[in-house]
Symmetry: C2
Subunit: 343 residues, 2 copies
């Protein structure tokens, strides 16, 4: 599927229309209605927020993965109440988002009671942005942190060959006078989706993002995608954080490391079969001033030292625009989506 | 105090001798015996591990801070049992390490029972490395994550002036066949102690570490220390993590942000008066293989792709050497320590 703005002619769809269209695509390619609802909302919301590398751009990958039999689109997650602060889910070789949705009420209940709770998802596929998983907790006044590992494409700092996934870390916290503070950062120097988009557009990448198939530095996104690999962000520090994500999202959950699954008998499979960890904290347990007032104070001071834009601000601006005027998609993309939906 | 190896003549002391010497220095400058024991062990262990920027190099700063009346060396931490997974400590304007020591048994008990527990320390001063706070949990089979904010010296990415502290993140996890996997990384491009050491040695820094008093990039450590500031590591990503540390270590604990305390009436004060957060997880709650076996597998694979050294390996090698042959200190440093101890 083309990246946005490749084509002159564009159309506008509402969030509801897009969500409905994606839901039809998912069910038509073998997911349950429940899974379709969750994934369609996730993907449409990313497109709504201008997070193009995790928006409709991902749909062909979802479809080819479902067609390959690699993932179970009908999986019913098994939620286990492990301890007063610990929830575990076996996603049953299904997607991570329905597993989170199934465990979410118990997770929130435990976080509010114990002050902190952890959700360990295993046997799951995560093919989306990570911020949609944490932001809703902040909307409810909770602080949330999540990590997910993916598939071998990042060379650990000081190593010769790739091992880690892009292994993002996402964080969300409420604040008094505005949308939650949210970030979602790949521990790779660049997100894999952005390399794919650059390759399709024929654009070069900045230096320091990746290596070619011989392990040599390259700015060519195609050389990275064809046998090359990404580098961690921030040298040994980003690499250490990526290692931590492997330990938390895979070793701790009982999921696969990024290098453990083998999809070679499933041509078209794109979704990493790993694990995901979420930690949710109830800040109302803390002594002193309201957390949301304090985080607002931090934001005020950040603006005071000249910061123009908070992490997440661009998404929220685009969200407001999309909700007011609709979501812009180029005509070819929209046609492809309608075709996939059988329309 | 001089950095190691500035002087040709060096002496060797045992860990016990060094710890005892530091304990005497602390009590002689007004701390309780309990506080002296905790801080002396922490600082001697850093020196033992070759973590010089947090070893005896810090002693003059501790002493001038105690002399200034900025910190309460006699403070008795107040531990509060907030919820089944939440412990809070008011450090009473004392050091963070005795607060952690006081809360530790309850924290471990909760982590083992609930599966996860959080310790929120506020009203505390942290002037040491962060890895000594997390490593002992991994020695007991637990996974630990800690963050502490410090004092305004880092310019948020995209801002003009400093606001954040160096705001480190430390992580520790057990593994089957070796010392725990441990890292401790400043979210600044360089740790403040390393800038001080470079300034004393007259060495230049690599590019991208900091700015001078006019906000211009500089490689001169003195220009950074004299009115300049540090940059976050890894651009906007390190900056987002530093912001997260402020939110977790200050907003969530009830402690000060890095920019909130004012020590101008306490000349000689060096210790940031902020907060600290620790999250401890019991990985035995998880389904599947033993966590320590799984983390060992990750280490094996990291070596398999050509990684020579794990985070923490250098410290463990130096530790073994120090325990076998004693800790090397230059003669001038040792004389200064003995003088501070009144010997």
């Amino acid at each position: 599927m083309s990246a946005p703005h490749d084509h002159a002619v564009s159309s506008t769809v509402s969030l509801d229309e897009l969500t409905q269209l994606l839901e039809t695509i998912f069910t038509r390619h073998g997911t349950s209605a429940e899974v379709a609802r969750t994934l369609a909302a996730n993907c449409a919301n990313a497109e709504r927020d201008g997070a193009h590398s995790h928006g409709v751009f991902r749909i062909p990958g979802y479809v080819s993965t479902l067609n390959s039999g690699w993932v179970n689109g009908q999986a019913v997650p098994k939620v286990e109440d492990v301890a007063s602060g610990f929830v575990s889910v076996d996603a049953g070789n299904g997607f991570a988002q329905p597993a989170l949705a199934a465990a979410r009420p118990l997770l929130v209940e435990k976080a509010r009671s114990a002050g902190i709770a952890v959700l360990a998802i295993r046997n799951s596929h995560h093919f989306a942005a990570l911020w949609p998983d944490v932001e809703p907790f902040a909307d409810e006044g909770l602080v949330a942190l999540s990590v997910v590992n993916s598939m071998t494409c990042v060379v650990p700092h000081g190593a010769d060959r790739p091992l880690f996934g892009t292994n993002p870390i996402a964080f969300a916290a409420p604040r008094a006078d505005g949308a939650p503070i949210v970030f979602d950062l790949a521990t790779s120097a660049i997100a894999h989706g952005d390399v794919q988009i650059a390759a399709r557009k024929g654009e070069k990448l900045p230096a320091g993002m990746g290596v070619d198939s011989l392990g040599q530095p390259t700015c060519d996104p195609k050389a990275i995608l064809e046998g090359g690999a990404l580098l961690p962000f921030g040298g040994h520090k980003g690499s250490a954080l990526s290692m931590m994500v492997e330990l938390l999202a895979a070793a701790l959950t009982g999921g696969n490391f990024s290098f453990e699954f083998d999809w070679k008998n499933h041509p078209g499979a794109k979704t990493p079969w790993t694990g995901q960890l979420l930690i949710v904290i109830d800040p109302s347990k803390t002594a002193g001033q309201s957390f949301a007032e304090r985080s607002q104070e931090l934001v005020r001071q950040m603006h005071g030292v000249g910061l123009k834009r908070l992490p997440g601000d661009r998404r929220h601006l685009q969200r407001a625009k999309s909700l007011a005027k609709g979501i812009e998609l180029d005509q070819q993309t929209l046609s492809q989506l309608r075709e996939l939906a059988g329309e």
